[in-house]
């Protein structure tokens, strides 16, 4: 088939692309975008399907990329980032800053709000995965046996969580089609923010109790011992 005289033109003012003029912008993305992995330049924009570099033993396809037919391609619209891994390989990643689409995955630390407490389990809505805020919440569930690591059979759900509490938990399974299964059976996991009956944010006094600064009443909770690495990770402390 003969080659048509199609040329795209990109006009800065009105953003119209027409096929009448000649090319004023070089669209040859595969060429100029081939990254020089040794040089860190200004952020380079990538779009899905864009060929980044040959896939050989020197590079690893990281987040936002995939390798196929001997090349590493971008799978995200974002900008390119390269890093060196411990074994001397170049990790190629495509990043969208603060705008990643995350879904809860097994072993991820999530932040959730308790919505419903029953004797056998409590339900919650996951509002944060790692340090990324979710646009839409996912449903989660903490079963009685996953509240703490020891004396599992003596757990009382009402003494562990109350509706409205903010908890940090680990995803232990994708669960069923309805909700993710979460666990707080670690010292660092559990309630991080809770409000007393008087409506004041409480302060933790032990691993199972929190105190209201206004009424001095103590309430039972499965309190998280928030550690520095988690504060950094989640961006929120008690």
């Amino acid at each position: 088939m003969e080659k048509k005289s199609f040329k795209a033109r990109y006009n800065e003012e009105d953003r119209y692309y027409d096929n009448k003029g000649y090319s004023s912008v070089d669209y040859n993305y595969t060429g100029p975008f081939l990254p020089d992995v040794n040089k860190m330049a200004a952020p380079m924009i990538c779009v899905p399907g864009q060929r980044l570099c040959p896939d050989n033993e020197k590079v690893t396809a990281g987040r936002g990329t995939y390798s196929r037919n001997g090349f590493v391609y971008s799978s995200l619209a974002g900008y390119l980032q390269t890093a060196h891994s411990e074994d001397g390989k170049n990790i190629i990643e495509v990043i969208r800053d603060g705008d990643e689409n995350v879904v809860p995955s097994v072993d991820a630390i999530v932040t959730a709000r308790i919505t419903n407490v029953s004797p056998r389990f409590c339900k919650c809505s996951i509002i944060k995965v790692g340090k990324t805020d979710l646009k839409d919440s996912f449903r989660g569930m903490i079963r009685r046996e996953d509240v703490r690591a020891t004396e599992k059979d003596k757990v009382e759900m009402a003494k562990s969580f109350r509706p409205g509490d903010i908890v940090m938990a680990r995803v232990i399974s994708l669960g069923d089609s309805q909700s993710y299964l979460l666990s707080t059976a670690e010292n660092e996991l559990g309630v991080v923010i809770a409000t007393s009956e008087a409506g004041v944010t409480m302060v933790p006094v032990s691993w199972c109790k929190m105190k209201c600064p206004k009424t001095r009443l103590e309430e039972h909770r499965k309190v998280a011992k928030v550690q520095a690495r988690f504060i950094e990770y989640s961006g929120s402390g008690p």
Binding site: F6, Y17, Y27, Y79, D99, N101
Partner: protein, 273 residues
């Protein structure tokens, strides 16, 4: 056609006055050098306007204009599955295609009709191969497509628009899917037909009268959607498909550029980077 009881519907049966006017004559292009009604050559496509991120509520969105054909697409998710469905380790993609009631020559209903349902399925099957569904197990991504104005090649425009919206939403994809369509009339192949040039079964009974729409992932050279209408001989069909594929390849940099521009503004607006 089931009526929507929550709306004030028009009279139960009404007919557009154009139904009684004389039908348009068959397009009369026999020589490839001849010009079309809007001054294009058979090979030429209409100018394209493509912009992303217009709908602030959506995770990603795109708007495409191919002269008279205007399509909006917004993408929501990945989010929790609303309906009770079976558990799947793969993410789900849903697609909702709708013509606005005033977008076509004849008025359309508010509820999805058979053609719109058919388009939804075709759009879904065009985009599914391109999306890395395993990246969001158990969750779903919803794609909503609204046609504001229909001036031909709607499905092709919707495929392009939806794939750009998906990329804008940050959904991981193997490649963009670019749609293109062609009208076959005898030996002539008209690229990117407008509404008057589109195939309808009212046309004469000649063989080789029909249309083809192709969805292509250019960088992987994979066809993710192909659909045809009308009786076509194999050779003509094949030739038209090849034309469509090369049109997709031509359009690819335009879509890449539109996305890149959107990303650039996003990065510049974000002081973090």
């Amino acid at each position: 056609m089931p009526a929507d009881s929550r709306r004030i519907n028009g009279p139960e049966k009404s007919i557009s006055p154009y139904a009684f006017s004389k039908p348009c004559k068959d397009i009369k292009i026999t020589e490839p050098s001849l010009q079309r009604k809007d001054g294009r050559n058979p090979d030429n496509i209409r100018p394209i306007f493509l912009k992303t991120g217009l709908i602030t509520q959506a995770q990603g969105s795109a708007y495409i204009e191919q002269d008279g054909t205007k399509v909006i697409c917004s993408v929501y998710g990945p989010r929790a599955v609303i309906r009770k469905e079976e558990f799947s380790m793969q993410g789900q993609l849903t697609c909702d295609f709708k013509f606005t009631t005033f977008s076509c020559h004849n008025r359309r209903q508010y509820q999805q009709d058979a053609e719109e349902k058919d388009f939804s399925v075709q759009l879904l099957e065009a985009l599914e191969p391109a999306v890395l569904l395993h990246k969001f197990p158990k969750a779903q991504v919803n794609i909503m497509v609204t046609v504001l104005q229909n001036d031909g090649s709607v499905l092709a425009a919707s495929v392009t628009c939806a794939s750009v919206a998906l990329a804008d939403a940050g959904i991981e994809m193997y490649d963009l899917v670019i749609g293109s369509s062609a009208r076959i009339s005898g030996a002539t192949i008209l690229m990117d037909p407008c509404a008057t040039e589109e195939y309808s079964d009212k046309d004469s009974a000649h063989v080789n009268n029909g249309s083809v729409t192709v969805g292509l992932m250019p960088s992987l050279n994979q066809i993710s959607a192909v659909t045809s209408k009308g009786e076509l001989e194999f050779e003509h069909l094949n030739k038209a498909m090849k034309h469509c594929v090369s049109m997709c390849v031509d359009l690819y940099p335009v879509c890449q550029q539109a996305l890149a521009v959107a990303m650039e503004t996003r990065i510049n607006a974000d002081p973090k980077t």
